[in-house]
Structures are given as structure tokens and as C-alpha cells.
């Protein structure tokens, strides 16, 4: 690691993941699959110990394979319960590869997150009750394209690295230390200390990120420690912390770390007295020694003996060792890892988890709520296969298996009387029947398409916001989803990607702006994209359009009334062909003729609602027949 230029951040992240997969949680690698991803994975894998597990989660994995459960065949043969470890337990101590993380389903996500959090998992399936170790790191491949939700925020929150891997990325061979060097670093890792200055710098940087979770900060701390091990340093100092911050915190929206000499200003570091913080003192019933624990001056007794541990707090600004970081490494890391529109997004309020409205359309972290494929099987439950419910044969057999011996005894007794000869190999009774349990698809997905141009924009937006919230508030049962597209100025924007979380919608709706031109065509085009996406998710889309019907920006984003109208009508025709129900709410003061025409093209009629308030809009949007 003594090259002049230093490794690029992607190589660095790969090495760190290989060094401490469970401690760092792993990485979310964003971008289409291809040689770059393969090369990156190869770097990780070639730096793992040869015998350590490496498991791939296939797309259609069933919960029993992932989590483990009953091994039916062996149980029957052995006459006792034989469990079967799941993929996550098999991967204990190693890495789990998760392709298509953007399609992660909740029944896969839940055990995965548990393993990341606890290093083990609870198995409660089919008569098996176990708690096997599953200390894994996850490498999630997020291949979402523009406008699709990516890997769930809950997963991104648990992996140290979020890597927008460039399609042409290649590792530089001289920056790869090799498996033997990594093994040494792994051995050194438990003995690496972190200086109080480093810890504080990371905490400050994370606090400015504005997200709620503690995890990024903790991951940054562990990254700092792993970096020190990788760079053969005895401790993680402020310089290492700056690099860790650049790798872990900055991609989530924290400000850039101060670099180089600025960061190493000894005065700045010493201005903060390294005393137990106020928070500690407020805990008035804290035991005496708790203060010591918190005090950065004294390493706790019983810490693994490292020769440097004692000096660490006293000489925090000690000159870096010769194998030091190249001066330009941190800026380079930051440049490479920042989302492209970072400068944009910085100006906007950043949401929790580092997601921000600025990343237009890239509606990150649609949560764990699965993109429901209609009727996707997620398990079995007792029931009769009727009324469209389908028999789950394997589950039925599992349910029947334990009873076989009892039933054959009973049957043998009957047979003595009836002389009915041979009994069937397998006796299944109605009680055994299992039907497939399916993810209930969302009843509908209402796409609000809102004209935020002109002077009435803000009021209209306010009412739509209310309508969205009303709709979500009384749709638990039906599992309706909403999405909100706003068009104004030159373009349309998906402000609220499809969600059924009121909290999430409310956060995203905060601080919407209005005014400017009326790019109705762009709005319709965006709605069309969401209609296609809804169909892919197997959800019924419906559109509620609110506008005063004076488009003046065309599909290409250029001004001009007549082209704007023609484009809008053309897109309306296209939308009609998708068979999507549309409501057109005319919010102009006196009713706008163009909207009647547009509505005809959409296969509907325009409703004049000059004083549309939240409740009226909600009624108009209601999927119920009452509407």
C-alpha cells in the first residue's frame, strides 16, 4: 500500500469489505451488472480467506432455503427431527451476494437484516426452532435504473459502502495487497484503537449529515479501524477518520471532511477538552467507573494489550508512518463516491437516511414494503384449495408427514375389520392441506399528476397534499399506494415515489415549490412511465390529473403553446391505450376548454372543481364505486 497515488475508493471499499465483512455490513454496489461489477467482486473474493463462505442469494429463494427449516426427507428417514441450515447460516463468517437488491422482498430482507444486526438469526419454521450464528457481510447489487427505487433504505443503512461503480471501472493491480496481507490486517484489526479526536471528527461529520440513524456513524468508526489495519497503522487517527468519513458518510449526504493539514490542526483538536461529555454527567446515577469508560484518556482496563495503546491518547498528532496516505486520496475518494447531483441535493433538505428530494426520481429506499407481484407466493397457510386459492403441495406434505405413523396404525386397526388390503403410501387428510399464501397486491396505486405552474400552484399543491394524506390515512386495509408527480417550469418530477407510508409521503411533500411554465406533456409522459412501472409491479394504476389546462411547454421542454398542446394530446392518446382510469380535475376559475379535449383523448370527462379542497380531491380520487 505504498504506491504514490493510492488506491481508488472502489478498490479500497472492496478490500475493507474483504477485511471485515460483518463489522462493516458490506456494500451496496450501484450500477448495471457487467465487467466492472465482476472485477469488483473478484477483488473482494480474492482477498477473503480461501475457506470462507461466499453465497449468492438466487432471485426466487424461498424462506426455508434462506433461513433453514425442516429437512423432510432426512427427518422421515431418521425418524426424528433433522434440521437443515439455511443459506444465511451457511454463510456465517463470510459474504452473501445479493443480486437485484432493488427487488428485495420483505421475506428475504427481514432475515438478512437480522443477520446483519445480530450476527445470528432466529429460525422458527416447520417445527424447527434454532438460533444459528450468521455473522455475514452483504454485497448487494443494485441495478435499478433511473426512476426506480433502489435497494431498501433499511439495507443501505446497514452497509458501510454505497458505491456508484462506474461501468468501466477496473482495479489497479499494484493496489491489491493480496490475501496474505489482508490476513495480517485481519489479525491486527482487534488491536487497533481509535483516537478520541478521530472519533469526535466522525461524530461531528455525521451530525451534519442530518439523518437519524446511528448506524452510519458506527460503520464509519469501524471503517476507520479497518483502514488503519489495512494501512498497517497502529491506530485510527484523525487522518484515517477523514478517509473513513469520505468513504462512509459523505455518500450519505454528510459534508466533506476537512482534508490534509486543515484537519490535522492540533489546536482545533485540543480546544475540545477530552473530558467525559455532559451527556454522561446528566446520567446522575451512573456508576463511578462509567465515567472512566467514557473518558477518552484512559483506555479501559482489560483491553487487548497493544504496544501502542498507551501512547495513543497522548500523541494523537504523531506524524503518520511512512506508509501514509497520499495527500490527494481523500478528495479523490470524495469525488468518486459522490452522487452526480450532490451539489444540487445539498441545497435541499435532506431526509432521513441520507435520501434527499434532490435525487430526482431516484426515489431511494422505498422501504421494505415489497413491490408486489400479484399472487407471488410467500409461504403457506392451512386452508382448503378453493375460491382461487391454490394447493401448496410441498407444505401439505410437510404437514402430513408427522402423522403418517399414527394414521397407519389407525388404518391398520380398521383394515383388520374391513380387509381392505394395502394402505396408500401417504395418507393425507383435509387438515393437512396447505394453500399458497400470497402477497396481497395493493388494491391500487393512485398517481396524482399535479400542475404546479402559475399563481394558483401553491394553493393547489397544498390541497393535493391534504388529499394524498387523507387517501393514505384510510387505506390501511386496502393497501392503496399513492405517488405524486409535479410538473412546472420545464419538467416533471416524481416528488413522491409510490408508497403507502403516510410518514414518508409527508416528509417528501414538505417544501414543494410552485410557479413557472406548464409542461403538461412532460407530466403525462412521466405518468406514463409510472403506469408501466405499476404494471410491472402488478398493481392497478389510476391517475388523478389536476390542472388549469394551459400547457405552454412541450415534450422537449421548449416553450410554445400549440406544440405543448399537441404533445399533451398525443401522450393522452398513449395513456388511453394503457387502459388506465384517469380523472381530470379542472381547477381553473371558469373551466378550460382544452381540458375537455384532453379528457376526451384520455377517454374520460373533465370535472370542473375550481375550489378543489383536500377532501373534494380525495373523493374524486377514491377508487371506490362511490366516487
Amino acid at each position: 500500500m505504498t504506491s504514490g497515488v493510492g488506491p481508488d475508493p472502489f478498490t479500497l471499499a472492496a478490500l475493507l469489505v474483504a477485511l471485515d465483512p460483518h463489522g462493516l455490513g458490506g456494500a451496496v454496489v450501484e450500477g448495471p451488472g457487467g465487467p466492472a461489477v465482476d472485477a469488483w467482486l473478484h477483488v473482494v473474493r480474492s482477498h477473503r480467506p480461501p475457506e470462507s463462505p461466499w453465497r449468492r442469494i438466487p432471485a426466487g429463494i424461498t424462506p426455508d432455503r434462506l433461513v433453514g427449516g425442516l429437512d423432510l426427507t432426512r427427518s422421515l428417514a431418521a425418524g426424528r427431527r433433522v434440521g437443515q441450515p439455511g443459506l444465511l447460516a451457511e454463510a456465517d463468517g463470510g459474504i452473501v451476494l445479493l443480486p437485484s437488491a432493488e427487488r428485495l422482498r420483505v421475506e428475504v430482507a427481514a432475515p438478512l437484516l437480522e443477520a446483519l444486526d445480530r450476527g445470528r438469526m432466529s429460525v422458527e419454521r416447520d417445527g424447527v426452532s434454532e438460533c444459528p450464528a450468521a455473522a455475514i457481510g452483504v454485497v448487494a447489487l443494485d441495478e435499478s435504473v433511473e426512476d426506480e427505487p433502489g435497494a431498501p433504505a433499511a439495507l443501505r443503512d446497514r452497509t458501510a459502502f454505497l458505491l456508484p461503480l462506474p461501468p468501466r471501472w477496473k482495479p489497479t493491480p499494484e493496489h491489491l495487497p493480496g490475501a496474505a496481507a489482508l490476513a495480517r490486517a485481519r489479525e491486527a484489526l482487534p488491536h487497533i484503537s481509535v483516537t478520541p479526536e478521530a472519533m469526535e471528527a466522525l461524530a461531528r461529520q455525521a451530525a451534519m449529515g442530518g439523518w437519524a440513524s446511528h448506524r452510519p456513524l458506527l460503520l464509519a468508526l469501524r471503517t476507520a479501524r479497518a483502514l488503519a489495519a489495512l494501512l498497517e497503522r497502529p491506530r485510527a487517527d484523525a487522518e484515517i477518520a477523514a478517509l473513513a468519513g469520505a468513504l462512509v458518510l459523505v455518500p450519505r449526504g454528510a459534508p466533506l471532511p476537512a482534508t490534509g493539514e486543515d484537519e490535522a490542526d492540533p489546536d482545533a483538536a485540543h480546544d475540545e477538552p477530552p473530558e467525559p461529555p455532559a451527556a454522561e454527567e446528566e446520567q446522575d446515577d451512573a456508576p463511578e467507573d462509567a465515567g472512566d469508560e467514557a473518558s477518552p484518556d484512559e483506555p479501559p482496563p482489560g483491553e487487548p494489550p497493544t504496544p501502542e495503546a498507551d501512547e495513543a491518547p497522548d500523541t494523537p498528532e504523531e506524524a503518520p508512518e511512512p506508509s501514509g496516505l497520499p495527500a490527494d486520496l481523500i478528495p479523490a475518494v470524495v469525488r468518486a463516491l459522490l452522487p452526480k447531483d450532490w451539489e444540487d441535493s445539498k441545497a435541499r433538505p435532506s431526509g432521513s437516511g441520507g435520501r434527499s428530494l434532490g435525487r430526482s426520481g431516484r426515489g431511494r429506499g422505498d422501504g421494505l414494503v415489497p413491490a408486489t407481484a400479484r399472487g407471488r407466493r410467500i409461504g403457506a397457510e392451512p386452508g382448503r384449495p378453493r375460491g382461487g386459492r391454490r394447493l401448496d403441495l410441498p407444505a401439505t406434505l410437510v404437514a402430513a408427514a408427522p402423522w403418517q405413523r399414527l394414521r397407519s396404525q389407525a388404518r391398520a386397526r380398521e383394515a383388520e375389520d374391513a380387509l381392505t388390503g394395502d394402505s396408500p403410501a401417504l395418507q393425507v387428510t383435509p387438515d393437512d392441506l396447505r394453500v399458497q399464501r400470497r402477497v396481497r397486491p395493493a388494491a391500487s396505486r393512485t398517481l396524482f399528476l399535479v400542475d404546479a405552474s402559475g399563481s394558483q400552484a401553491l394553493r393547489r399543491l397544498g390541497e393535493v397534499k391534504g388529499a394524498v394524506e387523507l387517501l393514505l390515512a384510510d387505506s390501511y386495509r386496502r393497501r392503496d399506494e399513492v405517488a405524486l408527480i409535479v410538473f412546472r417550469g420545464r419538467d416533471a418530477r416524481v416528488v413522491v415515489p409510490p408508497t403507502r407510508s403516510l410518514v414518508r409521503a409527508r416528509r417528501l411533500l414538505r417544501g414543494l415549490a410552485g410557479g413557472g411554465g406548464t409542461p403538461l406533456a412532460r407530466g403525462l409522459e412521466t405518468a406514463l412511465e409510472l403506469v408501466h412501472r405499476a404494471r410491472r409491479d402488478d398493481v392497478e394504476p389510476r391517475i388523478v390529473l389536476l390542472s388549469d389546462g394551459r400547457p405552454n411547454v412541450d415534450r422537449a421542454g421548449k416553450g410554445g403553446r400549440s406544440q405543448a398542446r399537441n404533445d399533451a394530446l398525443a401522450l393522452a392518446d398513449e395513456l388511453r391505450r394503457t387502459g388506465t382510469p384517469v380523472r381530470v380535475l379542472d381547477t381553473s376559475p371558469r373551466g378550460e376548454r382544452f381540458l375537455d379535449e384532453l379528457a376526451r383523448h384520455l377517454g374520460t370527462r373533465s370535472h370542473h372543481l375550481p375550489h378543489a379542497d383536500a377532501r373534494a380531491i380525495r373523493r374524486a380520487a377514491a377508487p371506490s364505486p362511490a366516487a
Binding site: G79, M121, M199, A206, S352
Partner: protein
């Protein structure tokens, strides 16, 4: 199993910690819901609680962890246990089928019958010394049972014991998670993502305190009284109102924005990461104090006095907030009583009321989706308007 993070080492999150302690003192409060941003230590706190609770005396060999009977009583203390109450005891109606299941349930019968005269190991158990032929009693950790989202129904309610069915041809009941959680806690992380059919099942059992399994001659009903603890992130989806209502207390957690507190969180996590044993040793004293506090509060709970004035205040508050039903008032009463007991007082005060009002009521207010301010400020407003806040303040001034 690695030990959970020490409860007392959790920085801040006072409301959550208080709610969990209250539920530990008085399970009839009805469970705790912890909602908040991801990564704020929700499940850490819940799991930490398990490491804190004083052990409970249970009938040896009872798969449901029944409490030993009080002196002079027979059968299980709570009633309804197919093992402790024996095939002939308890519910005559189910004696036939219940008996079969009871036999299947393993060593239970024999353990209950072989009444060794051992009493509890220390004097903390609420039962009297076993006079004559009581069941053998052992001490056990309070169960903290995880209900993973992927759990199958048979593991939750219990099912046929596969092993005994296959090897001995015996129809035996194998208790599930609900049995294991009896007298303890049932914890569901990401409770808002739990499958509907499991939610329905839990609601049923939580309401009745009893789990009923009926299948092909397997007929068992057993006690399943547990404190439901759920945590989740509201951004992943809302909780069904029916389930929301089941929880006695509801807590909202947020991350401290204060940098020193964050730093403290980091330091402690780091110390725990690096040397968990040492970390536990460091905090064991403080955890022990909380354990002691809970133990004392439990035994003094019944003697805490609740003045009529308190009840009137609680009703006024519920009226002001338009909380319907008795549940809100009852939760206020129980939570305040547990709080007073925790603080070693023999009387509930208005200050207690003001403190437990937000977690007891915030999930019971009618939701107005157009009101952005959320429910907590509404409760504080109501506390002001009813004069409770003022009364509590003067109470504090007097005692100071």
C-alpha cells in the same frame, strides 16, 4: 447467545426506557410499541430489557412456565395450564381431549405429579413456601421471545411433536412461541411488516391470554399471557389500527441531535464491540440497580395508593383529547402506578400522570391526517389546558 447490550448503557431514549420498565413492573399495562427512525437503537433497548429482568419462579418441567401455585391452591397459579392443572383438573369441558394432549406434552405430567417439596431458591418469589405437596419450583429468566417475520404459523401456536410422532407414534403437542412467551415478552421487530394472518392470530391470543390449538385429535389450550413489544419504522408502512390499539404504551424514538450524546453513543458501542465482557462488567452495577428497582416496584405495586383526584384528572385528560373507551384511562392509571412504584413512592401524583400521558395516549387519539403537528403536541396542549401541567409543576416545587 451473545448477551444483549446493557440496558443502562443506552444513551438517552428516556421515554422508551421508562415505558419498558413500566411494562416489566406491570404487564397488564398491555405492551409497548416503539416507533421511530431506523438505526436509533429500538431493538437494542428491547433486547437489553431481557438481560435486566429479575428471574421468575416457575413450575419445573412446565412447558408454559407457569407460576407455582399460592399456598393452599392447587393447579397453576393463573389457571388454564394443561400440564400444571393436570388432565383431571381445571376445565371439565375439555378434560377428554385436553388429557390426551397433556400426556403428550412431555415430562409435564410426571413433573407436576412428582411433587417434590422444593420451594423457590430465594425469598423473592411471590408464592408462599410450598406447604406439603406443591410442585417443584425453579427460577428461570423472564422469557424474551423473538417472533421473526418469517415464522411459520405452526411454530407460533405450536404443533404436533414431529419427533415423537415419527419415533413413538405418539400424538404429542409441541408448544410454540406463544407458549414460550407465557409470562414474559413477545418481541416483534418490524411489527408493521408482520403478515396479516399472524397479526390476526396474535390479536386473538393477546386478547384472551390463552392459545387454543385444535387439530385432528390434538386439542390443547394453554395460557399465553405475554407483553407484546413491537418496534418498527413508520416509513416502512403504517401499523394496522387494530394492532395499534392493542398496545398499552406507544413510544416515539428519535436520535439525539446533540453531538456529545452521539459521541457518547459511539464510545459505548465501540467499547462494547471491542470487549463485550469488560463492557458488561462495567455496567453490571447499574443494571443491577435497575433490576432491584423493578423487583421492589413489583412487590409494592399493589400497595400504591391512587387518590380519587388522580382518577378524575385522568378522565378529564381523556375527555379533553376525545379518547374514547376505557382503555386510555386504565392505561394511564396502571402506568402511573407502576411509575410511582418504580420511584419508591406509595402514592400516585399528578406529576406521574403528566409523565405517562404521552406514551399512554398518543396512539389512541383520532388521527387527523391534515394535522401535521402530530399527536404528542396535542397531548401537551391538553395537559396545559386541563391544568395538569401546572398542578404537576407546583407538586414538584413543593417536594423540592
Amino acid at each position: 447467545m451473545p448477551r444483549p447490550f446493557p440496558f443502562s448503557a443506552i444513551v438517552g431514549q428516556e421515554e422508551m426506557k421508562l415505558a419498558l420498565r413500566i411494562a416489566a413492573v406491570d404487564p397488564s399495562v398491555g405492551g409497548v410499541l416503539v416507533f421511530g427512525d431506523r438505526g436509533t437503537g429500538k431493538s437494542t433497548a428491547v433486547r437489553a430489557l431481557a438481560g435486566l429482568l429479575p428471574p421468575i419462579p416457575v413450575v419445573e418441567g412446565c412447558p408454559y412456565g407457569c407460576a407455582p401455585p399460592e399456598a393452599g391452591q392447587t393447579g397453576s397459579a393463573g389457571g388454564g395450564c394443561p400440564v400444571c392443572d393436570g388432565p383431571a383438573g381445571g376445565r371439565a369441558g375439555e378434560a377428554g381431549t385436553g388429557g390426551r394432549a397433556g400426556k403428550g406434552a412431555g415430562a409435564g405430567d410426571s413433573a407436576a405429579a412428582a411433587a417434590a417439596g422444593k420451594s423457590g431458591r430465594n425469598g423473592t418469589a411471590p408464592h408462599g413456601p410450598a406447604a406439603g405437596a406443591g410442585p417443584a419450583v425453579v427460577e428461570r429468566d423472564v422469557p424474551m421471545v423473538d417472533l421473526p417475520l418469517g415464522a411459520t404459523e405452526d411454530r407460533v401456536v405450536g404443533t404436533l411433536d414431529l419427533e415423537r410422532a415419527l419415533s413413538d407414534g405418539v400424538r404429542a403437542f409441541e408448544p410454540g412461541l406463544l407458549a414460550r412467551a407465557n409470562r414474559g415478552f413477545l418481541y416483534i421487530d418490524e411489527v408493521n411488516l408482520l403478515d396479516d394472518h399472524l397479526v390476526d392470530l396474535l390479536l386473538d391470543v393477546a386478547a384472551s391470554g390463552e392459545n387454543v390449538v385444535e387439530r385432528e385429535g390434538l386439542s390443547v389450550r394453554h395460557p399465553a399471557r405475554f407483553v407484546l413489544v413491537g418496534s418498527g419504522n413508520p416509513e416502512e408502512g403504517d401499523l394496522r389500527p387494530q394492532l395499534l390499539d392493542r398496545f398499552g404504551l406507544s413510544v416515539e424514538v428519535a436520535t439525539p441531535r446533540d453531538i456529545e450524546m452521539r459521541l457518547e453513543v459511539l464510545r459505548r458501542r465501540d467499547a462494547h464491540d471491542r470487549d463485550p465482557e469488560e463492557f458488561h462488567r462495567r455496567w453490571s452495577g447499574q443494571d443491577g440497580r435497575i433490576r432491584q428497582q423493578i423487583r421492589r416496584a413489583r412487590s409494592s405495586l399493589d400497595t400504591v395508593e391512587v387518590p380519587d383526584a388522580f382518577l378524575r384528572r385522568a378522565s378529564e385528560l381523556c375527555l379533553a383529547l376525545e379518547v374514547d373507551g376505557l382503555r386510555g384511562e386504565l392505561t394511564l392509571l396502571r402506568a402511573a402506578r407502576a411509575l410511582a412504584a418504580l420511584e419508591g413512592r406509595d402514592r400516585v401524583t399528578t406529576t406521574d400522570l403528566a409523565e405517562v400521558a404521552p406514551p399512554s395516549l398518543r396512539h389512541r387519539l383520532r388521527r387527523d391526517p391534515l394535522d401535521e403537528s402530530g399527536t404528542t403536541p396535542r397531548i401537551h396542549r391538553a395537559l396545559e389546558e386541563t391544568g395538569i401541567q401546572e398542578e404537576a409543576a407546583s407538586e414538584k416545587a413543593r417536594s423540592a
